[in-house]
Symmetry: C2
């Protein structure tokens, strides 16, 4: 199968150029000057279009699609109590959650998603199976890193928290054995499905689990993905528990490698940045969620200046009521001006594209396969329609894509050479059925007592000194 | 003409309720429990819809539509040099700029726009005429406040700026006489067209002009609209020029009244907030622009806590490459969590609606006419389609509208009882012609030397101490 995208605007070495791009099988075969390549069996007219490498949604939780718009604005620790309370319990919700996440990602510029996935207790294999079926149905590239933890919820608060103890979590050994089984069953790079190891975060995980995940990542070449210093409470907890930075602690446990991506990092300091950069780890920046939960401003500009790889994520729909990758990228691009007066440090649209594409690919351990429009790379591509009113006037299409509010602009998308979107419609799944499922979800029943109330007095006392 | 919107979800006293809303002529006649009113000649089924008061875009510059996506990320003072250089010069661009601004506003939840309008030198009347024709063609409510100044560009920099002097600006007396003529010709409240007095900002205006505008506002009951302390440079300039806060200076000149709205106020301090609140002035918050230009974080939560009326604006398309009111509202709602750890102070979707509707109406001196769904108020209403995928699942429509990324959700809109949007399409103007104009704008010619280069050394030295 050969596809020629003829005379299309794209970003080459930092500037916009008109080129021909020939796809052959699952790869990009040739990139040549516009109108220089012979016509191929499948010909796509690139006039008034912009072709970019597919972006990576570097951090989300697919099952939260069902909790979109549900949970009020609260800081992470209190918000979490509400998330647990209203989390989906049916396997088909996980399937449709993956489908929805894949569709939203494709239609907002992404071709790959890192799903830091909640999995149903005692139904872990079945949950991952449902997610894999969902992602395969759509055809998007997906890394599924099941959320695992061996410490109770209350351990995530500084100065402990006197909560009625929920069911005892599984042990680190059990969880690691489970992860091996999940990898054996579902890790399938040829089909674009990858399993990652995803310890929830140091705040919910023993050293045995954190380090065991690191060894698994080393041995099986898996992405290591974890929440890291998302909130001030977590920063305080790390000092309380380890006496050193959580980043240094992870490094001591052997968890920081080029396969590692950490979500948020809002509260990392200069030494942490240095350490993450030196180990070639990736920081996944989730600006919408960080504001929605009041987590703070991640030190993205400092990170980039220190050579740290930074990518973008939406985070789950319970903390970012949209799953629109271009929205997260826009906010992540303009937000950091408030942290640095020198405008020469501000992110440009070109940098944002690089971070979202190659930065994202590196963050999911796929930097050798996707992230640029270069011969030999997998054909993970997105074609944008520049005639949509949201992309007018035509002053600078790239700037409008990143700094505007593009709407319905994804005309086509390919993953591993397979066309998944055409004329703005996902070809592989019945999106009407998805929307029917979402529309007819039973109305959420709000509990008489909001689930965060039991932990609230402790939180306010510890974090707000009331 | 009677229109009944039957059994529609709306926000009444802070919570969502199903109601019937009867419009008669240009007013809201009755709001009653769902399905309690007799059917009217024009019947609109409110099933799966949300009805809200129309929002106000409290600050924009319509002609910048042509500069969307054009100007790179720079701080205001340098960005301005680029704006001047590439500003439209043809009257029909002003007409279409107004049309585009009106359409974008209507399709993103707004029914009223404050256009702090650039007007062509020596063609001021003609420019305002073009804007008025544009807004009347669409039928949106518009306040047009021509940008006037009697000090040169260079006076906007702290410690002066050695620039070749451009043509001498008009005198305060000439400008005030011109404003009287513009009001006499174009101020037309019955048609929803208002003229405001819009001195650019203290940094470009003499005391004579600032105070003269205040007197005009008093005498003719006009909105007084001005840029205020948008940047750190302006704050420094105020200290340099007056030795007191620019807000206190405006108060001393008699410019702060309930008819006054100030754009940005990023650098106002606690005393300024107090003064603005006491004079019942309005702060128009432009979060996207403030981040895009690196201006900073306006003290919105502090302002609200002090009783200050705060509304939202998009600002012009050269500093916010989208003119999507819901986007500005979302960002303005979630951004301020980083300034206050106590989540009880964070903005809720219900507050955001109140700020965008009644807050906005007060800010343009129309709080007695629009901003709530109450009998007797003008029928300025927006009906949202809750079945669009971006509004699913149906957990909390208001939260998804404000915190999600609603796309193509404006189903219908009315201004002064006249329906301007139906089934997501603007009824009054040919939007295809608008998009044709925008699409076929000649490609911007980038000057050999970027226009901000001559002022850059001064800016860097003064503001960045290099």
């Amino acid at each position: 199968m050969q596809t020629l995208i003829q005379s299309v605007l794209t970003l080459q070495n930092g500037s916009l150029e008109l080129v021909d791009v020939l796809l052959m099988g699952d790869r990009i075969h040739t990139v040549a000057p516009a109108n220089s390549l012979p016509v191929a069996p499948c010909l796509i007219d690139g006039t008034d279009k912009l072709l970019l490498p597919g972006f990576v949604n570097g951090h989300t939780h697919s099952s939260q699609v069902w909790q979109r718009g549900l949970i009020p604005q609260l800081p992470l620790e209190l918000w979490l109590a509400n998330v647990f309370d209203s989390t989906p319990r049916q396997l088909d919700q996980f399937y449709w959650g993956a489908v929805s996440t894949a569709v939203d990602t494709l239609l907002s510029g992404g071709t790959c998603v890192m799903d830091h996935a909640y999995v149903l207790p005692h139904q872990e294999m079945e949950t991952v199976d449902a997610l894999v079926r969902g992602y395969k149905a759509v055809g998007i590239r997906a890394v599924i890193a099941p959320l695992i933890q061996d410490l109770p919820f209350a351990s995530g608060f500084p100065r402990g928290c006197l909560l009625p103890q929920a069911a005892s979590p599984q042990s680190a050994a059990e969880l690691l054995a489970m992860m091996e089984a999940i990898v054996a069953e579902f890790h399938d790079p040829n089909q674009g499905i990858y399993i990652g190891v995803g310890p929830t975060g140091f705040h919910r995980c023993s050293d045995e689990l954190l380090a065991g995940c690191g060894k698994l990542s080393d041995r099986l070449n898996l992405c290591y993905h974890t929440h890291l210093l998302e909130t001030r409470a977590q920063q305080r907890l790390a000092q309380e528990r380890y006496g050193i930075s959580a980043v240094q602690h992870l490094e001591n446990l052997g968890c920081l490698t080029p396969r590692t991506s950490v979500a948020h990092g809002v509260w990392i300091d200069d030494a942490d940045i240095e350490l993450l950069a030196r180990t070639e780890s990736t920081l996944v920046h989730n600006p919408v969620s960080n504001l929605r939960l009041g987590s703070g401003l991640a030190p993205v500009l400092k990170g980039l200046q220190a050579g740290l790889n930074v990518s973008f994520g939406c985070d789950g729909a319970a903390s970012n009521d949209a799953q629109h990758l271009l929205e997260a990228i826009k906010l992540g691009t303009i937000l950091h001006t408030v942290t640095d007066q020198d405008y020469e440090h501000w992110l440009t649209p070109e940098q944002a594209v690089q971070m979202a594409a190659m930065g994202g690919a590196k963050g999911v351990n796929l930097g050798d396969r996707t992230g640029t429009i270069t011969p030999g790379m997998d054909a993970d591509l997105v074609l944008y329609n520049l005639n949509h009113p949201s992309m007018l006037p035509r002053n600078n299409p790239l700037q409008l894509l990143i700094l505007g509010r593009p709407t319905d602009v994804v005309e086509a998308a390919w993953v591993q050479g397979r066309q998944l979107v055409d004329q703005g419609r996902v070809l592989t799944v019945d999106t009407a059925a998805l929307h029917h499922m979402l529309r007819h979800q039973p109305q959420a029943v709000h509990p008489a007592e909001p689930p965060h109330h039991p932990v609230e007095p402790h939180y306010r006392e510890v974090m707000l000194n009331r």
